[in-house]
Subunit: 455 residues, 2 copies
Amino acid sequence: MPTLSDRIRTHDVPRLRAWLAETGTLDIADEFARLEPGERAVLFRLLDKDRALAVFEALDPIHQQELLEALRADQVRELVEEMDPDDRARLLDEMPAKVANRLQQGLSQAERQKTSVLLGYPPESAGRIMTPEYVSLRASMTSTDALAKVRRSGGEVVTLRVLPVTDDQRRLVGVVDLPRLVTAAPSTRVGDLMRTEVHSVTVDADQEVAARLIQEADLIALPVVDAENRLVGIITVDDAMEVLEAEETEDIIRSGGAEPLERPYLAANVVFLARKRAVWLLLLGVAAVLTVNVLQAFEDTLEAIVTLALFIPLLIDTGGNSGSQAATVVIRAMAVGEVRFRDLPRVVSRELTVGIALGAMLAAVAFPLVTLFFGSAFATVVSLTLVTICTWATFAGALLPMVAKRVGIDPAVVSAPLITTLVDATGLIIYFLIARAVFAAELADGAGTLAGLLG
Amino acid sequence: MPTLSDRIRTHDVPRLRAWLAETGTLDIADEFARLEPGERAVLFRLLDKDRALAVFEALDPIHQQELLEALRADQVRELVEEMDPDDRARLLDEMPAKVANRLQQGLSQAERQKTSVLLGYPPESAGRIMTPEYVSLRASMTSTDALAKVRRSGGEVVTLRVLPVTDDQRRLVGVVDLPRLVTAAPSTRVGDLMRTEVHSVTVDADQEVAARLIQEADLIALPVVDAENRLVGIITVDDAMEVLEAEETEDIIRSGGAEPLERPYLAANVVFLARKRAVWLLLLGVAAVLTVNVLQAFEDTLEAIVTLALFIPLLIDTGGNSGSQAATVVIRAMAVGEVRFRDLPRVVSRELTVGIALGAMLAAVAFPLVTLFFGSAFATVVSLTLVTICTWATFAGALLPMVAKRVGIDPAVVSAPLITTLVDATGLIIYFLIARAVFAAELADGAGTLAGLLG
C-alpha cells in the first residue's frame, strides 16, 4: 500500500482528501511530524480552513515554523492571527527575530498588542504562558448580571471556565467557576459564590511553579497578578500540562546525562542530536580520566595481584548503579515536592541505612561465590568493598542532588551519569585501600604462622 | 522556634488553630506528610468540617489511609462519604480488603454503588479513574432546556464543565462545553453547538492512554464509553494530571534502575525503600559478573600488558554513558508519542550516525593525550575502542527500548543501568580484541623492522 508520502509525491489528491476526512485532528498532526517539510505544505493546503487551524494548533512550534515558511503570505497571516495569544507568543519566541517581527507586523492591532505584552515578560515566566483574555466579575454583581457579562464578552471557551473576581482597583479577590454561576439562584451575589481561598501567581513567577500549583490544587485556570495583586491574565490547565510535560522531559533527559532537545526527536537533525550529548559525554569522559590516574597510583598493587583487576568493572558498576538509584528516587521526590532541603538529615539517614543494607545483601551473595573461585582473601576484599561502595554511593547519590538544588543547580544535572563517574573514581580508591589492608594482614598472618611453625 | 510537631506534642491548641487559619489547604496537606501518623490525627481534629475534607482530599491515598486509622468511626464515615467516587475507589483499592469492605458498608446506598461500579473495572483502566456522575444532554434540546437540566442536576462543579450529548440509546454523539451553552442564543439546538469530532475511550482502555489523550487534545473532560459506544462516565483533567504524574514517576524511577515506590518518598519506610532497589541491584550485579568472566578469558593479555587495565573503567564508563544517553532520549520520545515502532529504521540510522560522531570526537581528544603518556600503540587501541564502543552502545541504547516496548515490556525497564551493564561486558571484549590485533600488528611490524635491519 502506498504511504502518505507516496501519495503526496504522486499528487493523489482524491485519496489524500479521503484520508484527511476520515482522520482525527491529532492523528493528522502526528503524521505531519513524520513527513518531510515540503510534503507537509502540500497536505496542509488540502485541509479546509477550520481544520487547518486545528491541525496547526496541534503541531509543535518547530513544525509550525517550518510549515509557515512553506505557505503563502496571506495563509500565514490568517493562521497566526487566529492563534491564542500565548501560543502565538511561544511560536514567535522560537523564530529568528527578523521573521518574528515581519509576522507580528502582519497582525491586526489588537492581536499584535496582546502578543507584545506577553513577550515583554521574562522567558519561562508565568507571564509568558498566560492569556490576557479573561472575563472578570465584581463581587457585588448578581449571578444573572454575571452570566449576562459572560454572554456579552464573546470570549473563547477556554477562558470562560473560571471567572476571576476583582475589586474596583482590579485587585484579585476571588474566583467563581462557571458551573457554580449557572447553577446558582438568579439573584445570588457573586461575592457569595466565589472561592476566596484563591491560588494565584505573579507574572514573573516560574512557569513550572505555576503549572505544579494547577496540578496539585486541581485547578482549571490560575489567575496571574502583578506585584500589586492586580489581575493581568489567567493560565489555563492545558498550558500547564504542556509546561509540565516539557519540564519532565528536561529532567528525564538530564538524568540520562544528555541535554534536553527542546523539539520533537524526529524533528531534530543528527548533528543537533549529537551536539546535545557531546558536552556531557566529554565532561563525564574527563571525569573518568580520574580512574586512570587512580589505577596508575596503585599500579604496583595491580601488577602484583592481577586478579584484583578482574573485579574492577563489577565493583564500579555496582557502585554506580546504587548511586543512580538513590539519585533518581531523590530527584523525583524533590520534583513533585515530596522532599525539601530541610528534609536533608532524614533523607541522608534513610539512604545511609538503605546503602548499608543493600551492600550487605550483595556482599552476602558475593562472598561464597568469590571464595569458591578465588579464595577467602579475595572474597573478603570484594565483600568489604561492596558494603563500603554501596553505602558511599547511596549517600552521595542522595546528598548531591539536594545540595545542587540548594545552590541553584538543576538537580537532574547532578544525576545518574555524573554520580556514576564520581563513585567510580572514589570506589577504586576504596577498593585498593581495602585490598592493601587485607593482603597486608594476610601476609602478616602468613608470616606469623610461618614464624610459629619455625618457632 | 518550636516546630509544628513540638506544638502538637505540647497541645498548644491556640497556636495550632492560628497556624491552620492562616495556612492554605495544600500547604497544610504538605506539612501533614512530614508529621508522625499520631500527630496528624491531633492536628486534623482541629480543622473545621469543610477544610478537613479539603485537606483530606489533598493527601496521598497512603496518608489518607493512615489518617483514617487514627480517627473515630463517625468521622471516617463522613469523610469517605463526601469523597468523589473515583478518589474513593482509589483509596479503597489501596487498603487491605477487610478494612475496605468495612468502610464501604458504612457508606450510603447511592455512594456505595458508585464506588462498586468503578472497582469492577480492571486496575489501571480508564473505568477506575472516571466519575460516573455526569450530566448528559440530547442533540434535540435547546440551549435553554440544556441549561435548565444542568441547573436541576445539582451536579458538582468538576462534572459540569463539559457535557456529553447522547442519543436515545445512551450512545455518545458529541460534547458541548458549558461556556458554549451559556453564550449561545436561547433557542439554539444543542446539536448545533456540540462538537462531533469527539475523543473518547472505552472503560477498559489504559489510564495512561486516556490521560495522554486529554493532554494532547487539550481536553477538560474525556467521555468514557462501553463496547457499544454507550456513555458510562467521564474522566476529568485533574485525574488525568495525577495519572500522568504517577506514570512519569514510574518511568523516571525505572530509568534509574529501581522500582517505583507507589507512595511518597518520606512515607515509605527504609526496608521498603531498600526492597524496591534490591532486585534491580542484584540483577545488574549478576549481569556485571560477566565482566569478571570476560576479563578472565583475557587474563594472559591482561598480565602481559597491565597498562591496558588502566583504561578499563574509562572505556566502559564512556560506553555506558553513551548507551544511557541514547536510551533516555528514545524512551522519552516514545513516552510522549513522538516515536513509534515503525520509526525503528529511522531511529537506528540516526543513532548509529550520532554514535560514530561522538566516538570520533572522543577518540580525537583521547589520541594525543594517550600518545603523550603511553605511546601511540596504546593511543591507537584506546581511540579505536572509543569509536567502536560508542557506536555499539548508542545503537544498543536506542534499539533495546524500542524492541522491549514492541514485545510488551516497559521500555523504562530496559534503560540506563541495564544497558550500561550490557555495554560494559561487550565493551571489554571489543577492547581486548582490538588490543590483541593492534599489539600483534605492532609486534609483527617490529619484527619486520628488525628483520629489515638485520637483512
